[in-house]
Amino acid sequence: MTQELNVSAAVEQKAGGISKKGLSAGSVGLVGAVIIGISCIAPAYTLTGALGPTVAEVGLQLPAIFVAGFIPMLLVALGYRELNKAMPDSGTSFTWATRAFGPWIGWMAGWGLIAATVVVLSNLAGIAVDFFYLMLSQIFANSAEIAGLAGNPFINVGTCLVFILIATWISYRDMQTTQKVQYWLVGFQLIVLVGFGIMAFVHIANGSAFDPTPVSLSWFNPFAVTSFSAFAAGLSLSIFIFWGWDVTLTMSEETKGSRSTPGRAATLTVIIVMVLYLFVAIAAISFAGVGGVGVGLGNPEIQGNVFFALAGPALGPFAVLMSIAVLSSSAASLQSTFVSPARTLLAMGHYGALPPAYSKVSPRFFTPGYATVASAIVAAGFYTIMRFVSEDVLWDTITTLGMMICFYYGLTAFACVWYFRRQWFVTVRNAFFTFVFPLVGGIILTVLFCTTLVDSMDPNYGSGSEIFGLGLVFVLGMAILLIGVVIMIVQSQVRPAFFRGETLSLAAPRFGEREE
């Protein structure tokens, strides 16, 4: 019997099995892409977290700020898309900034992304805890006692840790809901939010609203905001509400059908979300006003989580639907958010910017297992510390988050500009998409970042939490960045190869050059 030797070492690639990138290209249709986009933005969660802090900064001009906040987001997202097309890499901002500006700035961009996502993870879990107990109290018709449990820091932290644990488990095992479930979840979220808006206007018409405030054109005038600081702070918050939208732009590789699908999906997503945000924001202000008492949006007591307070008065017996909508929205967002820090950590481990353990892929679930667990531990620790340090943990984390997003999005935008410097003016399209748009976006975000940083030194900033006479948000932001610098310096001693540019080199391709 003749036996062939073990020589066929090459991986056999059969037609139909594996396509070029292992993805069945063209798998997500227009509706699917819009659903993923909305699910990543998680409007119910975002609104409940961001409405209050933004009103605290800009008052009645909330709708204007929501529209204005979209502009820098759009500009940066366009640059993001260009980079993603040129260098698809799971490290995103980290990899791109490293290619454009070298290892040190690249490292900090990666750190900014990880910090922002870890902060939002803890905020998401925190909001979920509030609504979990609210939902229980609504179901058992016992409003005060059970809902009050969320106020007990030990119960609160305990529940939050359980939520983070569950989310980690789901992410680690890469469990996914079916497309049908996603459609239902997103649809339900939209219906509840629209229902909330309609009910608010019904109350206003009946005269049963909390503080009826007539809608006025000045709400849409960004220049009516009292100071530039307030404007900047409001903007950096409203960037957060569109965060996640860029996903629809970068899904170009996977979307089904024609080349125009990703563009249409992104446009459709943003129109839906923008209309929804404006409608709900106007409804909420008209219904509750911006006063500082009761359920007025200016009341610091409720600003970290406004639907928690507004659901009852506006929706009455249907308030439990709002709890379910925010909970499901947080859960979906928790899952989609978990992958970004994990994938960036994985890329940093892969390129030697962090210990190699971070680059481990779980052989059973094909997820960045080690990095996922690491992000979960940091998010849990962050929330626990914040819950005991801050007077209003949700508010302060959202404000810090806005700052962190400005930091790493700004760096990413500049990375786009610099990386494409040799092909800016090759075509008119390039001039706008690789030069003008990201540059303007980056400058706006930088201004926002600096203004927020300076203003937040004031102990009265945000929720009014302070440490050593400095605003908690400032201390947090600086601490996060400085810890990043320290870890970076330690890594540069332990793992010098990355910092000498040996694993990921600088590049600035000419037009038409493709990288491998």
């Binding site: 066929s8 899952q335 989609s336």
Partner: protein, 290 residues
């Protein structure tokens, strides 16, 4: 014979590969090592990331290359990457495409107190496969890849479908050139252990042995024995087992024609067996190319 190993870069995957290699030492046998990745078109809340998918693909190719280093020279082996919604679906698709005769997977062993627990992967296969499925118990890899299959045991009951199981047992014993042992499960199919049951079991074992002898073409060594005990677990523990042997069981009558469905007796045997178990589909028949 074409043996397909459902591989993962885990201890269970190494168990499956070790068993696959031992089987594939048979003359004319081929070994296919298949690693299943998630299909990109499943619904996900997490947006797809081409960069991550590329990295995953490279990692998976690395895993397969590592798997190849565990396969000794002299065995015809190929590796495949399959994309599917689940590991089970991927293996079944690969088995159909490659016309595999047997799928080998590792049994998960994280059961309580060290007992066998069928992993979700094996579980899916054991209720839907159209080709026989071999479960490599935890630790199979320790035995290495050099030990040939010492004996093939067929656990035969009286229920319909025993013929298919016998056919599979004879085929496998011939392929790996090992003696065949037939074990009658009659004594445990019936409650109580009276003299009549024992007599029935002995008759059944003899009948099966006769059937097997009639169907053997070459000088295959074949023996028969009776498994007895108050429970299946007892009976399995009471039989002598050669560490290098393989045990075959049939499918439940609940199975669809030509598919596997792990019956309750087989499931109980699985928990006690110290050797690999092969579950044969209902109405197993030998096709022309075999």
């Amino acid at each position: 014979m074409r043996f397909l190993v459902g591989y993962t870069a885990t201890p269970a995957g190494a168990d499956a590969l070790a068993l696959g290699v031992r089987l594939a030492r048979a003359p004319g046998a081929e070994l296919d090592v298949v690693l299943v990745l998630n299909a990109g078109d499943r619904a996900t809340l997490t947006p797809n990331d081409p960069g991550y998918d590329r990295l995953l693909l490279e990692t998976a190719e690395g895993w397969l290359a590592e798997a190849l280093t565990l396969v000794p020279a002299g065995i015809l082996v190929r590796t495949h990457l399959e994309h599917a919604d689940s590991f089970t679906q991927g293996l079944l698709a690969a088995a159909a495409r490659l016309q595999a005769n047997l799928i080998v997977v590792g049994a998960a062993t994280h059961g309580l107190l060290g007992r066998f627990a069928i992993g979700s992967v094996a579980d899916g296969l054991l209720h839907s496969s159209h080709v026989p499925v071999a479960l490599a118990p935890e630790g199979t890899r320790v035995m290495g890849t050099d030990e040939p299959i010492g004996r093939v045991t067929c656990a035969v009951g009286t229920k319909a479908g025993a013929d298919g199981l016998l056919t599979a047992g004879i085929l496998l014993a011939r392929t790996v050139d090992a003696p065949l042992r037939l074990v009658s499960l009659v004594a445990i199919d019936r409650p109580g252990a009276d003299a009549r049951t024992i007599q029935l079991a002995a008759d059944h074992a003899q009948a099966v042995l006769d059937y097997a002898t009639d169907h053997l073409m070459d000088g295959l060594e074949v023996t028969a024995s009776v498994a007895s005990g108050s429970s299946i677990e007892h009976a399995v523990r009471g039989l002598p087992w050669d560490p290098a042997e393989i045990c075959l069981v049939g499918s439940s009558r609940l199975a669809q024609p030509h598919r596997i469905f792990l019956g309750s007796i087989a499931a109980k045997m699985l928990r006690e067996l110290p050797v690999p178990l092969i579950v044969v589909p209902r109405d197993f028949t030998v096709t022309a190319e075999d």
